[in-house]
């Protein structure tokens, strides 16, 4: 499996890219900055699995916490409202 590069508390940015295929990174979160909440383990890459390949090496998966105001500038709600999304490491870069 690929080494886990990030630790809880690290600031990260979701890569802003639009490849075709079976992508588990939602559009609305691409390009947004958040904080690693926890490491979830390593899993076969779903983008590869969808192409009938083995998805190895397994990709580290993280839960990333985003402030709602960073995701939606016009967000209406409390200042502490957050969104947590599972993101594979190859979709993250240090921020």
């Amino acid at each position: 499996m690929a080494d886990a590069q990030f630790r809880p508390g690290d600031r990260v940015r979701v890569i802003k890219a639009y490849p075709l295929g079976h992508i588990r990174t939602p559009f609305y979160i691409r390009g947004k900055c958040g904080t690693i909440e926890r490491y979830c383990g390593a899993f076969a890459n779903p983008e590869e699995l969808a192409q009938m390949r083995d998805g190895l090496p397994a990709q580290p998966l993280y839960r990333v916490r985003f402030d709602q105001k960073d995701v939606w500038p016009d967000y209406r709600g409390g200042p502490k409202d957050v969104l947590e999304v599972e993101i594979y490491q190859h979709w993250l870069e240090p921020a």
Binding site: R24, T25, P26, Y28, I29, C40, G41, F43, P46, L61, R63, V71, W72, Y75, R76, G77, G78, P79, K80, D81, V82, L83, E84, V85, E86, I87, Y88
Partner: protein, 205 residues
């Protein structure tokens, strides 16, 4: 038979998709070779359809009465379920706890990922475009439509179940249930409260 899509139920003709065809082929081969029977397949489908959210309620009620169990549940949802004898193969469960400061809610914006082994088949609204697109964008408005109005001081934490984890919300135990048995407590825990779009109602509510 294994296709339970709404379209099929309405009798609309659709050619089999790749995976439907693969399912039929595999099932027929397994039956032909005597590995399984059609009856077993039918029983399994029936069991899946009948599975409700009672297993989830049991887990929550146990966490309410046993603080040590709650710690283990929050540390590893999967192991804590196994401890109760719940067989949840391949389910990577994360349990998220509601507190006076934080309210959790679960959505899968990409499809309809859901802890089926604990909560059964997801409700139609969980799979709807409306819920999936709005729960991440305006959770307070969506929760209000479900009858849950939370003050701004309570942080709302929405979990988008996009990959390999499945989520169960551990709601807060209602007031006035201090003397209740675990079984009676479990009867308070409905499906929606474990998705995070409802709050369990206590005797005073």
């Amino acid at each position: 038979m294994a296709n339970d899509s709404a379209k099929e139920d309405q009798g609309t003709y659709q050619p089999l998709s790749y995976f439907q065809l693969m399912e039929v082929s595999l099932r027929e081969l397994l039956v032909e070779k005597g590995i399984i029977t059609e009856e077993q397949v039918a029983q399994e489908v029936e069991a899946m359809r009948k599975r409700g959210y009672e297993r989830g309620s049991r887990v929550v009620a146990r966490a309410w009465v046993d603080p040590e169990y709650k710690k283990r549940l929050l540390a590893s949802g999967t192991r804590a379920c196994e401890e109760l004898g719940l067989d949840i193969p391949a389910l990577k469960l994360l349990v998220v706890e509601n507190t006076p400061e934080v309210h959790n809610a679960v959505v899968c914006t990409l499809c309809s990922c859901y802890p089926r082994m604990l909560l059964g088949i997801p409700p139609e609204w969980y799979k709807s475009r409306n819920y999936r697109s709005r729960m991440v964008r305006e959770p307070r408005a969506v929760l209000a439509e479900f009858g849950v109005n939370l003050p701004d001081q309570v942080a709302i934490r929405v979990h988008d179940s996009t990959a390999d984890m499945r989520y169960l919300v551990l709601p807060m135990r209602p007031q006035g249930t201090e003397s209740w048995s675990e079984e009676r407590l479990a009867s308070l825990v409905n499906r929606d409260s474990m998705i995070g779009v409802a709050l369990p109602k206590g005797p005073g509510d």
